[in-house]
């Protein structure tokens, strides 16, 4: 066990993947000498060389498209997209090529790509540097979409993603890069596609992932002080969603709150609310509640506190799910 930041845990995951499998290659902008703008790849080019850790020209379609070709050749490329908002120039390659090649070739071509994306807000950045684009990818068949919330998960999930024969969108909660935690580099994590109950509770199920797991845990603690028992579920995988774990929790608590930074409309929260309503209709004692970013572009830094779900908004949602007095009491929609 070593104590590492989430960013360093990702770096150690990449290092292990590079050592364990010579077909693993890294590519992206500024990942070499600079070690990436968040230093996740720090030292890897020095130790593994420029053929395995490649600084690429500044072109996202180029990065993803070249990775497709490398995969055809038996490589396991790990692409770094510098920031969430810069994935769109590579979007076509991801959704039209990467996602579909296995299907299109009747399973003959594997696309074991991992696409790492620092995502989410809360760091006071300028536009295009704080987005949560996960729903676009979760909506696309053929892609696996995952996100981590702890250094241990960051490390083991990344290694699992690289080992996967399916393409994985690996979303890294950038505002948690500096979170520290114990990492066992040999630990076998939960299998890909499974959620984790982080804190058990009996009154409300609070489902979240990535950057908001820490916020949800704070909210659960605050709720406990008021005598409300909140069960926090960290989804970890956004495609597929581990509905068995979420259902089991909701069957126990009868109430569901979902929180994510991404905008509400068409987001993961809607998917979870719909599926849980379907699967747990007779267990639910209230309509599922979503606490999300608003349906606006990610705002300027001085407004982000009004966009991002925080502890108070989550607690308000918990109140709503419990039918307690809340911000919408008396509100007519």
């Amino acid at each position: 066990m070593t104590e590492l930041t989430l960013a360093k845990a990702l770096g150690s995951g990449l290092r292990r993947a590079l050592s364990d499998d010579e077909k693993v290659v890294l590519l992206g902008e500024d990942i070499g000498k600079l070690g990436g703008v968040f230093r996740v790849t720090d030292g890897l080019q020095r130790d593994f060389g420029t053929e395995r850790v490649m600084d690429t020209p500044l072109a996202e379609a180029g990065i993803i498209g070249m990775a497709v070709g490398l995969a055809f050749r038996g490589y396991r490329p790990v692409c770094e997209i510098q920031f969430d908002g810069f994935i769109y120039p590579g979007f076509d390659q991801i959704v039209a090529q990467v996602a579909k090649l296995h299907y299109r070739t009747a399973g003959n071509v594997r696309m074991p790509l991992t696409i790492r994306v620092p995502y989410g807000g809360g760091i006071g950045a300028v536009e295009h540097h704080s987005e949560s684009p996960e729903a676009y990818f979760a909506h696309t068949a053929g892609l696996r979409v995952v996100t981590c919330s702890t250094p241990q998960d960051a490390h083991s999930m990344l290694r699992e993603a690289i080992a996967s024969d399916d393409p994985v969108l690996f979303f890294e909660p950038k505002r948690r890069y500096w979170t520290k935690g114990d990492v066992d580099e040999d630990a076998v994590g939960l299998p890909m596609g499974t959620a984790r109950v982080v804190v058990e509770g009996t009154d409300v199920t609070l489902v979240t992932y990535g950057p908001l797991v820490a916020t949800a845990l704070d909210a659960a603690e605050a709720a406990a002080n008021e005598g409300i028992s909140v069960e926090v579920v960290d989804l970890r995988s956004l495609s597929p969603v581990d509905f068995d774990t979420v259902s089991a929790s909701v069957q126990k608590t009868g109430r569901l709150v979902i929180t994510h930074e991404a905008s509400e409309s068409g987001g993961l929260g809607a998917e979870i609310a719909a599926t849980l309503t379907d699967r747990c209709f007779y267990y639910l004692e209230a309509a599922p509640v979503r606490i999300t970013g608003f349906d606006v572009p990610y705002p300027p830094a001085k407004l982000e506190e009004h966009f991002l779900p925080d502890l108070d908004r989550i607690l308000d949602g918990v109140d709503r799910a419990l039918g307690r007095v809340n911000s919408l009491t008396g509100w007519s929609a």
Binding site: P57, L58, A61, H128, F294, P300, A301
Partner: protein, 372 residues
């Protein structure tokens, strides 16, 4: 020498240090002659050159002040233009008000020359607004952060100008790294196909964050455009006169139906990529030193002094004017107010949108809960 006399070549025989680019004022401040480009600046007088010099000093001063403001926590981030002043001022000062600029995030000197208010330069970097100014009030779009996207916008604007029968020109500013993005190639293809009155103004500052230009281009970037059917000019980007001459010739071409031109201004980013970058990880200090000697301001100063145009008195007054601008800039920055919470919902759509209206009133109710 009277300061109203055009700035002519002093030393016709002087060897150009880099024959690969157009240079009219070398690093030592010697005025070189160039048969093709001299005519484009034959009207520039000593006084006008002194005024360009003042611009260079002021934009550098703004840049230094902004970096300081970032260090003091007043700005979230700042992308310095230190070293690139001549490329920006020399090109922007040749534009007409009815021309239109589409830039990236580093063109603060261009914005200054377009008449953007000082306070408006920092709204975005302070995080109080999504954009700093109204593009139509200054003939300059708000900066594009997505690398290369603006080159297509400039092309579209130019096609619009052409269709409207006006002789306005669109100018796209971008970096050397940007030339790798698909958008930039697509912009050149469209511009050539539609014979668009657009100037592709590439500031090759040698770096895309930590990546040297050699990773983006195996040949001088200016060589790329001819393959798209677009003529190009490689110019010393640290030479304000040469940049001016190159831009004027491109503008003239565009106004007269000649279509697009690509300009590669060869310069150097002397500071970090942004205030959060650490260039010590990738910059060779020896090379950085070499570029220091080619600074865009020092050469104008040397020339103006040798001509007797720049006296100690004038230099001092320019300096004090720069200090005054910096003080105004600082004041403008720190007096920016945080936006109202509910403004987070403003301007998402041009017309009423029931979904936003609903979220806005819900959030209003939520905020009011805290006041009770």
């Amino acid at each position: 020498m009277s300061t109203t006399v055009p700035v002519k070549a002093q030393n016709v025989a002087a060897e150009k240090p880099n024959p690969e680019f157009v240079q009219l004022l070398n690093a030592e401040g010697t005025r070189l002659s160039d048969d093709t480009y001299d005519p484009w600046v034959s009207d520039v007088t000593g006084d006008q050159l002194a005024s360009l010099y003042e611009d260079l000093i002021i934009v550098r001063r703004i840049d230094t002040e902004a970096t300081a403001l970032q260090r003091q926590g007043e700005l979230g981030l700042w992308p310095p233009l230190f070293g690139q002043e001549a490329a920006q001022v020399g090109s922007a000062r040749t534009l007409r008000p009815d021309d239109f600029v589409f830039s990236s995030y580093r063109e603060n000197a261009v914005a200054y020359c377009r008449g953007v208010a000082l306070q408006d330069l920092v709204r975005v970097w302070r995080g109080t607004a999504a954009s700093g100014w109204d593009p139509f009030s200054v003939g300059m779009a708000t900066p594009a952060v997505i690398i290369g996207a603006q080159t297509l916008h400039a092309t579209g604007y130019a096609v619009g100008c052409k269709n409207d029968g006006v002789d306005s020109v669109a100018v796209a500013y971008f970096g050397d790294g940007a030339t790798s993005e698909g958008d930039v190639s697509e912009a050149m293809i469209f511009a050539a196909s539609f014979n668009a009155p657009v100037i592709f103004f590439c500031q090759n500052n040698q770096w895309a964050i930590s990546e040297p230009v050699g990773l983006q281009a195996q040949r001088p970037i200016a060589e790329r455009a001819p393959g798209f059917g677009i003529p190009s000019i490689r110019v010393d980007g640290n030479d304000v006169l040469a940049v001016m001459a190159a831009t004027r010739s491109a503008l003239d071409r565009a106004r007269n139906g000649g279509g697009p031109t690509f300009i590669e201004a060869v310069t150097y980013r002397r500071g970090p990529h942004t205030t959060s970058d650490d260039p010590s990880r990738y910059v060779d200090p020896v090379v950085a030193k070499e570029w220091e000697a080619r600074d865009p301001i020092a050469r104008v100063e040397a020339f103006l002094r040798s001509e007797g145009i720049l006296t100690d008195e004038l230099a001092a007054s320019i300096q004090s004017r720069a200090d005054q601008v910096a003080a105004e800039f600082r004041h403008g920055c720190i007096s920016l107010q945080n936006p109202e919470p509910l403004s987070v919902f403003d301007n998402v759509y041009a017309t009423e949108h029931s979904g936003i209206a609903r979220q806005k009133s819900q959030y209003k109710a939520y905020l009011e809960g805290f006041e009770k």
